[in-house]
Amino acid sequence: MKAKIHVTLKSGVLDPQGKAVEQALGSLGFAGVSGVRQGKYIELDLDETDRAKAQANVEKMCEKLLANTVIENYSIDFAET
């Protein structure tokens, strides 16, 4: 199965890149846009077929490498391949 992982900055952590994107959108004429936050999207294929085991395993990957939990949150979705 495929794991789809979103890594985002925790709320309260300043995101200067998101701010810059927000300003750029404004200068392009897109009005009414706020709260732009930039993150990462990671996809990976797993041999594991058991959903619960896959969930536990990917959580470990996020804790150990894919996210820096001092400043980042992560969310995991699965899709059958």
Binding site: V13, L14, P16, Q17, L65, L66, N68, V70, I71
Partner: protein, 229 residues
């Protein structure tokens, strides 16, 4: 004193540190490739600046998991002094030897210039040769130097005298653009609670010889030689 400099693919200040150490030590530091988990016992380990593993995923994230860093962590836990400069600082936060994290500079630009630092504590082998509150000039060159930690961590760093250097103006005052990267509390460098691990964004090795335009960085290496014999 015996010293080791860790070399990752993408390190680019390893040889500058080598020259700086050689000058103060009068002998050759050991250069240790990132795959070498076994290397001779040394009195000081330096994790140098650069772009280890191309800064992939996050600055320092992949280097923190390399074979050599397991050994560096084990030795740091036993009390061996470890100095992380710039990317080395990022590696040390990623591997948990230091608190907090280095985020993208608030201005989003790579900043390369001399900055002034106030020496906030002399209670470490790294900073003992400087005067308390001394203002020194050291170059920076980084994209991800914006130190961040949560409120409790910051309080802990302050309470335990673990803030080693702050960005200041030439006269020692704070504010007014002295902070080049948006770093929390103007923090440029921190110690761990046992005071044997220092991480800092500025590069002392880049001003450690008068022919480079300044000598303020040399005192760190001279002080280490003095403290560690």
């Amino acid at each position: 004193m015996k010293a080791a400099v860790i070399v990752f693919p993408g390190s680019n200040c390893d040889r500058d540190v080598q020259v700086g150490l050689r000058q103060s030590m009068g002998s050759e530091p050991l250069m240790v490739w990132h795959r070498d988990a076994h290397f001779a016992q040394v009195d000081l380990i330096v994790v140098p600046g650069g772009f280890s593993y191309g800064d992939y995923l996050r600055s320092g994230a992949l280097a923190s998991l390399s074979p050599v860093m397991g050994e560096v962590k084990a030795r740091a836990d036993k009390g061996v002094p470890v100095l992380g400069i710039c990317n080395g600082f990022q590696v040390l936060t990623e591997c948990g030897l230091l608190l907090g994290v280095l985020m993208r500079n608030a201005g989003l630009k790579f900043v390369c210039r001399d900055v002034y630092l106030q020496v906030e504590t002399t209670d470490s082998v790294f900073t003992g040769a400087y005067g308390k509150d001394a203002v020194i000039r050291i170059p920076i060159g980084h994209h991800d130097g914006n130190f961040f930690a949560d409120e409790n961590t910051l309080k802990r760093l302050r309470d335990e005298d673990c803030i080693a250097f702050r960005y200041v103006n030439a006269d020692g005052s704070r504010g007014n653009g002295a902070n080049p990267n948006g770093s929390l509390d103007d923090i440029a460098g921190i110690l761990n609670d046992k005071r044997n691990v220092l991480g800092l964004m500025p590069h002392p090795e880049r001003l450690s010889d008068p022919s480079l335009g300044g000598n303020d960085g040399r005192l760190m290496f001279d002080g280490l030689v003095q403290a560690l014999g």
